[in-house]
């Protein structure tokens, strides 16, 4: 360094090293955990893109009803009927928004109702084997 060494430089260098170590420990642990999960998953075969999704555990609260409907090949009006809400004005809202708007006292009820409706629709198909929703394990 060209300028005389001073405490500010020392603090800056120490800060960089400490910050780097914190990042490495925090993200290193997260990377290791994510890698374990990643290894358990294999890319689906190319033909799977044409298959109809049946695993309702993949439904997330950022999804919209038309998105879920297209993903699982279920008519959107069936899902709106299951939620007992009008289709008009709700097509672009996420499941979370619908929950906050129509069921503010029951957190997560919309996603559960949608999962149940999708599963019922899949079960009613003659050639489909549904993937059941995850149930909590009671110790």
């Amino acid at each position: 360094m060209d300028a005389p060494a001073n405490p500010r430089q020392k603090n800056f260098v120490t800060g960089l090293i400490i910050l780097g170590l914190i990042f490495i420990i925090f993200f290193g642990l997260r990377t290791a955990r994510a890698f374990r999960q990643f290894r358990e998953h294999r890319p689906p075969p190319p033909s799977a893109a044409e298959e109809i999704e049946t695993d309702v555990n993949l439904i997330r609260d950022w999804m919209t009803i038309p998105f879920v409907s297209k993903m699982y090949h279920v008519k959107p009006h069936l899902l709106f009927e299951a939620l007992e809400i009008p289709e008009q004005g709700n097509r672009e809202k996420s499941l979370r928004q619908l929950n906050e708007e129509y069921y503010p006292q029951a957190e997560g009820i919309v996603i559960e109702k949608v999962k149940a409706a999708v599963q019922a629709a899949i079960t009613s198909r003659p050639d489909q084997v549904p993937v059941l929703p995850e149930t909590p394990v009671i110790p």
Binding site: G20, T31, Q37, H41, P44, E53
Partner: protein, 202 residues
């Protein structure tokens, strides 16, 4: 934020993705890489057309990067008036002119967290716009095709890939910070050693 953006992308498609990656290139902390992986998965499942979506993302992210470069270019005057004569500035500028291309390239898809500052530094350090655009375009193409392709490959399992990539990105930033810290520390120690040797013995 990520969930809100995903909802908007499935509602409005490529235009929203374009806005997100453009703002992200300017330094707004959007999870652009995770979104790119998700977009690849949506394309696989037929929600978005992969070619136009990819093209819109590439054009918008390159435009955002160029705006960052432009900002750096226009603040070059005041920066030079303030630091232009210092030996450190001259060294830093020379270093960036020699290795700036690789820095631009790698920060597009590997250390994406520092891409925006690198755009501004590139503009300030007199690296030519043509060189910047070349490395930027190549790097961003790798980003769009690489991460979008991963999402496309993994389809509905994209969240697992996204979690791994974002954690790995944080790990890389940590390694860079540690490396820079150690390098500066060693230079500082060397400087102190040299200064001690120069002091004449009484």
């Amino acid at each position: 934020m990520s969930d809100f953006l995903l909802t908007q992308i499935i509602n409005y498609g490529a235009p929203i993705l374009g806005v997100v990656v453009f703002l992200s290139a300017l330094g707004i902390p959007f999870p652009a890489t995770a979104i790119m992986i998700a977009v690849g998965a949506f394309s696989r499942e037929g929600f978005l057309p992969w070619h136009t979506t990819g093209l819109v993302a590439l054009i918008c992210v390159v435009l955002g990067d160029c705006l960052g470069y432009g900002l750096g270019y226009y603040v070059r005057g005041p920066v030079l008036r303030r630091f232009g004569d210092s030996e450190r500035w001259i060294k830093a500028e020379s270093f960036f002119q020699q290795r700036g291309g690789m820095s631009i390239l790698l920060t597009r898809f590997l250390v994406t967290g520092i891409a925006s500052p690198v755009n501004i530094i590139a503009g300030t350090s007199n690296i030519s716009f043509r060189t910047f655009l070349f490395y930027d375009f190549v790097g961003e193409s790798i980003w769009v095709l690489g991460y979008g392709g991963l999402g496309y490959l993994f389809g509905n399992q994209w969240e697992v890939v996204s979690e791994f990539i974002s954690s790995f990105g944080g790990l890389i930033i940590g390694l860079v910070l540690l490396g820079v810290g150690i390098w500066l520390g060693m230079r500082r120690l060397q400087y102190i050693e040299n200064a001690k040797k120069k002091v004449p013995e009484l």
